[in-house]
């Protein structure tokens, strides 16, 4: 545990002009191929113009329905998916087009925990080798003895016993595998961890334990998290800021309390209304969502949310609303936040 703290570059001095992560107009479009010649017949706009800043030591959550582009967004930021458009800067450096050799130091400081715990661990590698791999790849492994102790510490940190390192991934449950992924992500003591549904597969008690661990590490090391989740209570627990995504776009981005206590965008309101409330007497005052989530292959014109929106006006079906700073939040809605 003690070695975890000794990271010289754990805290990046972040100023207003230098957020740890800056995403500007990020877009990822997948071509749709059809027909015998596999000609491109259109595009899935999985991510379509996403912008946000994430500062060191901060947690920004991205919430939204399944298929709205959260994972794709994370992949593009981690440079595992080539963006169609937009810029990504990390610690003041533009990494959008960085070639892989120059990307290595960035990768050392930015780790990712993947959504699917069953395919994110190599079935032919022992768990201790999986957790040690980032250190080995970056030439930080050191003496075998030191490395073994280090791996044991990392496993203990996520609530697994160091002896479990001798086993193979198939001998673990989904939740345990996810914790192995988290241990792997912590190995390099990064500045940013992208958590794609990192705790969704865990049961409630382990979930709480991991969330507290993540928050504890954040306090001690100044870690930043880009936290992707569909679980609003988890998001509320861990986030400083929350971005709500709908069909590849951010529709509302605000501080946690502002967003949860006073949601402004009709989609945010609907999303919160759909979440179960502990006290039925305090049931949400907002209208629940109607209709189906639209197909990303064939999104509605104008504001993508307008067919399901209770407040839609005629302008909504023609103009795509831009994300605009209004008061304490950014919001993309001409009705709630007129230009």
């Amino acid at each position: 545990m003690t070695e975890i703290i000794s990271n010289p570059n754990a805290v990046t001095p972040a100023t207003e002009t230098h957020p740890l992560l800056r995403v500007e107009n990020l877009a990822v479009h997948f071509p749709i191929r059809a027909g015998p010649l596999a000609t491109v017949s259109g595009h899935v706009k999985a991510v379509d113009g996403v912008s946000f800043d994430l500062h060191a030591g901060e947690t920004l959550s991205i919430v939204g329905e399944s298929g709205c582009g959260k994972t794709t967004c994370a992949m593009a930021i981690a440079r595992l998916q080539t963006p169609t458009d937009g810029r990504i800067s990390f610690a003041g450096q533009d990494i959008t087009d960085l070639e892989s050799r120059r990307l290595r130091p960035v990768r050392r400081r930015m780790q990712i925990v993947f959504q699917d715990p069953f395919s994110s661990l190599n079935p032919r590698m022992k768990v201790s080798d999986i957790v040690a791999e980032p250190l080995v790849v970056h030439g930080l492994a050191g003496e075998p003895d030191v490395l073994r102790r280090r791996v044991g510490d990392l496993l203990a940190l996520v609530g697994l016993s160091p002896e479990m390192g001798r086993r193979y991934p198939h001998q673990f449950s989904g939740g345990q595998r996810q914790r192995i992924s988290i241990a792997r992500a912590l190995a390099l003591e990064p500045d940013l961890i992208i958590c794609d549904e990192a705790v969704s597969a865990l049961d409630v008690s382990i979930q709480a334990q991991i969330l507290n661990l993540l928050m504890d590490l954040q306090q001690r090391l100044g870690l930043a998290y880009l936290f992707i989740s569909h679980d609003l209570s988890v998001v509320r627990h861990i986030s400083h800021k929350v971005a709500v995504m709908y069909l590849g776009r951010i529709v509302e981005l605000a501080d946690r309390d502002a967003l949860f206590n006073d949601p402004q965008h009709p989609y945010t309101q609907a999303l919160l209304a759909a979440a179960p409330v502990p006290d039925p007497d305090r049931a949400s005052p907002y209208l629940p969502l109607k209709g189906e989530a639209p197909n990303a292959r064939n999104p509605p014109s104008g504001c993508p949310f307008h067919p399901r929106c209770p407040h839609a006006i005629s302008q909504c079906s023609t103009d795509v609303p831009a994300l605009r700073q209004v008061g304490n939040r950014s919001i993309a809605c001409p009705v709630v936040a007129p230009a």
């Binding site: 990768r107 050392r108 993947f114 190599n122 980032p134 790849v137 970056h138 193979y168 792997r184």
Partner: protein, 254 residues
């Protein structure tokens, strides 16, 4: 050179299976009970390997030892398989021939497998334009008829084991790269490959540590099927006088 078009399902993720019955004896009993045909095949194979490996000890006569008084004799107790036109003991030569065929087959298949893995892994892992270029090259290569290519090269360079190993190794290796490539494509889709990229691992590391261990079953099949194919082709070539040079015994040449 047949290449199966669908190779994506060849790779099964999962743990290496443990033998249900520990120990060699238990394993053999289990094998005979559950796969009797396989057990018979295995026994025949092991007998051949045994005779091949110990050919020099088991052969009753020297392989080039001639006895002109006993030419073209039928099988007898002193010459189990009889003798050939210059009085050499055919049984001894069959034993030694098995050895030569086996060595050529194993070395050629090993070389072919290395070629297949190198080409298949690079094409499959990098994909894109590099893959297209490599695939068109493989297509072009595979349009040459094997035997014609072999005959042409050997008539230029002369017969010999090295020529056979190199040419057959390239022929089978380049063709077999398709199978390896297919397996790599399916393994590459797993998130752990991306995870390795995300921690900053280079392509050599990823192919070596993540891709190859997971396509090992396919590589083993590629290797073993090549062995039998090479034995047949080598026998055919030697029969045509284009294989292993003359006095050395091979099954095809006798």
């Amino acid at each position: 050179m047949t290449v199966s078009p669908t190779t994506t399902n060849l790779v099964q993720p999962g743990p290496p299976r443990a033998a249900p019955n520990a120990g060699l004896a238990g394993f053999l009993r289990e094998l005979v009970r559950r796969k009797p045909l396989g057990a018979i095949g295995g026994a025949v194979f092991l007998i051949f390997v045994f005779f091949g490996v110990f050919a020099d000890l088991l052969a009753p006569y020297g392989i080039n030892e001639t006895n002109l008084r006993a030419r073209l004799e039928g099988p007898s107790l002193s010459h189990l398989f009889g003798t050939d036109h210059i009085g050499r003991d055919v049984f001894s030569r069959v034993l030694k021939g098995a050895q030569v065929s086996m060595i050529v087959a194993v070395v050629t298949s090993a070389f072919a497998t290395v070629v297949s893995v190198a080409i298949g892994a690079i094409a499959g892992y990098f994909g894109g334009r590099l893959d297209s270029v490599i695939q068109r090259f493989v297509d072009a290569w595979m349009t040459f008829p094997d035997l014609v290519l072999l005959i042409v090269v050997i008539s230029v360079l002369g017969p010999g084991a090295t020529q056979i190993i190199v040419i057959l190794g390239l022929l089978y290796g380049i063709g077999g790269s398709r199978i390896v490539r297919g397996a790599v494509l399916s393994v590459r889709e797993n998130t752990y490959t991306r995870a390795a990229q995300s921690i900053g691992a280079g392509w050599g590391h990823i192919i070596w540590r993540h891709i190859l261990p997971n396509i090992a079953p396919v590589v083993i099949v590629v290797f073993t099927t090549r062995i039998s194919a090479v034995i047949l082709v080598e026998a055919g070539l030697s029969f045509l006088g284009l294989g292993i040079a003359a006095p050395a015994p091979t099954w095809g040449g006798m």
